[in-house]
């Protein structure tokens, strides 16, 4: 297959978008490298605290007018943005592939998911309605008004450069707040492009700001007295030890979505072929760099023949996965985002061997189709007979590594799953409804899949995990997002 055209053709230094202006940063400039080709595609500034402060001030100044803009007028701007997102769907998708490495099908999926959040936020005139009780006492009425809060900080991760900020921003601005976004400095081009489209859609200066950077910007957001709340997606250590306590200390609202170790329970009555196809995308899609990627397959039952045949089929299909540059439409798995992430995955493969698991498919031995440098690539890897308490069976690897383990019964599988500290997206594959319901009821997980390998909630449902996968109360997307980005003002009135 021929390579689709790369949308980013010349290396530019990205700018911050503050108060409706594209502003050069005074910070250090670092390269953004395409992990499939290892070519530098752009340069991104690591902005200063002062630059963050300018963006927050612009957002705060814009807030007073923006919150007075009618919900319908805000919606019309979102509709215009939605039109632009559709018009630029393919370009946005290819930018994601070029900067992140994921396959074009995955990028298009990410683009669509992002747009769906804009579509849901377009319902804000009704989603943001309050409620009234007449005559709570004789002649006294009481009503509740959802009101915006001010400036919100949005901190994006590297694994979904386009979609994840859109879990928050459409709802934040639709409800009358303003935002300062810090994209991941590893994949900043997607959000740069999104901000260009937001500008074209006509958002007033200061409503939608982008400040590229790293820890200084994140630390500044946490401390800043004018930032009312933060949404974050990233690792558990950062969510748990930095974002969540940081927001608590400064009295901010927080949605901190964190790491995962997702378990997939395989019942002997599952539809084997469909299950295995579903497993491929769940374990190896996005090169395993999803917080909803399955990591452990728990095969239930004591039938050795079923187990051995199942593992053999999984290995055969995984072995056939085409690894390469995601702008080739035939490619099924792209690279890890950068060299250090590959090294981390290799470390876990070594660890799995040392811990006694059987390496039945070695992702260190594979071919990159198209002859691209293998700096960031790891092939699909499968371990069998993994101890769920071993490090490879218990820790988040965030790469294309499948650990297969056994459980005697469904109860055992659920126990093994629930003993893990994460609870993001566990799933079961079965053709038995009673098994499915029992699993759904007893598993501790923010998202549950039944014959679905990637338990990604649609935009009109909340998305968030449990246990060490989530820190906060309300989740992103849908009605939860509306509540997160608004406070309730209760009015009791009497007229003499």
């Amino acid at each position: 297959m021929a390579l689709l055209e790369e949308p980013i053709k010349e290396v530019k230094v990205l700018k911050n978008y503050i108060n409706g202006e594209w502003v050069e940063s005074k910070g250090e400039i670092v390269d953004v490298v395409n992990p499939a080709t290892m070519k530098t595609i752009s340069k991104v500034p690591i902005s200063t605290r002062d630059e963050l402060d300018q963006a927050v001030k612009a957002a705060q100044d814009a807030y007073y007018d923006w919150r007075r803009t009618t919900p319908l007028a805000r919606t019309r701007m979102l509709f215009r943005l939605k039109e632009l997102l559709e018009e630029n769907f393919e370009k946005a998708s290819r930018i994601q592939t070029q900067e992140h490495g994921k396959c074009i099908d995955e990028s298009r999926g990410e683009s669509r998911r992002g747009i769906e959040n804009v579509e849901v936020a377009c319902g804000i005139p009704t989603l943001m309605q309050g409620y009234v009780s007449e005559d709570v006492a004789h002649g006294i009425d009481e009503y509740c008004i959802p009101t915006p809060l001010g400036v919100f900080g949005v901190i994006g991760p590297f694994n979904f450069p386009w979609m994840i900020p859109l879990w928050s921003i459409p709802y934040a601005v639709a409800t009358g707040n303003t935002v300062v976004l810090k994209p991941s400095s590893e994949v900043p081009n997607s959000q740069q492009f999104l901000a260009e489209l937001a500008e074209e859609a006509g958002f007033p200066p200061g409503v939608w700001n982008v400040v590229h950077g790293g820890r200084t910007v994140v630390g500044g957001m946490l401390e800043h007295p004018d930032i009312q709340g933060i949404t974050f997606v990233g690792s558990t250590p950062v969510a748990k030890d930095v974002i969540y306590p940081g927001c608590g200390k400064s009295g901010k609202r927080v949605i901190a979505q964190a790491g995962a170790k997702n378990f997939m329970t395989i019942m002997p009555d599952c539809a084997v072929d469909q299950t295995i196809a579903g497993m491929m995308t769940s374990f190896f899609g996005n090169a395993g760099q999803r917080c909803l990627a399955a990591a452990n397959a728990v095969v239930v039952g004591e039938d050795d023949d079923f187990y051995n045949e199942f593992v053999a089929k999984v290995v055969a299909m995984a072995k056939g996965i085409k690894v390469g540059y995601g702008l080739d439409e035939s490619i099924q798995m792209g690279p890890l985002r950068d060299v250090s992430k590959k090294q981390n995955v290799l470390k876990y493969i070594d660890l799995g061997i040392k811990e006694g698991a059987d390496l039945v498919l070695d992702g260190r031995e594979f071919t990159v189709l198209g002859g691209y440098p293998d700096d960031c690539f790891v092939g699909p890897t499968v371990f069998s007979n993994v101890d769920p308490k071993s490090r490879v069976g218990a820790e988040e690897i965030f790469g294309p590594v499948m650990s297969i383990m056994r459980a005697k019964t469904l109860d055992d599988a659920i126990r093994i799953t629930n003993e893990n500290p994460f609870g993001n997206g566990h799933s079961i594959f079965t053709q038995n409804g009673a098994h499915a319901r029992y699993f759904q009821y007893n598993v501790v997980s923010g998202n549950v899949g039944i014959n679905i390998g990637i338990t990604a909630a649609m935009a009109f449902f909340p998305f968030g995990g449990l246990k060490d996968s989530f820190f906060g109360v309300l989740h992103t997307q849908g009605k939860d997002a509306i509540r997160f980005f608004t406070d309730t003002k209760v009015v009791i009135q009497r007229w003499f």
Partner: protein, 144 residues
Amino acid sequence: MALNTCSEGISFVREMEEASAALCEEMAKLFPESAEKLQEYAKSNNKNVANVQRTYFGVITDGIEGCYAFNLEPELYAIDATLPAGVSKADALAKAIAVEETMARFYADAGEQGKGLTADVARAFTMISRKKGERVEELKALCK
């Protein structure tokens, strides 16, 4: 190499439909008595592409297993949509029928393979396969 991803399946379909449309347009010029019908077919080819793409871009989401949609060998669905100089109407129609039959088979096979994982895309394929079957019958009628 096998076609596996939804994206390459869509591209494969587009190439086939474009070739089929070009064949119909060429036949319409060669055989004016059937031009109206053949041009209608060419339009329908373009509609099929639009339909499949609209469906794909409408439902492709992070939760859809787009990278593992099919396992189809493209060689089994190779079409020859070129007409030699001086071709008779009967031979041209025979070629058009062969093209449509192959495409109908591709749509049916892809629709069947993709039905578990690609939702509406597979459904669109299956529906187009049925339409292709109808066209084959119509082309056969033109031979009479």
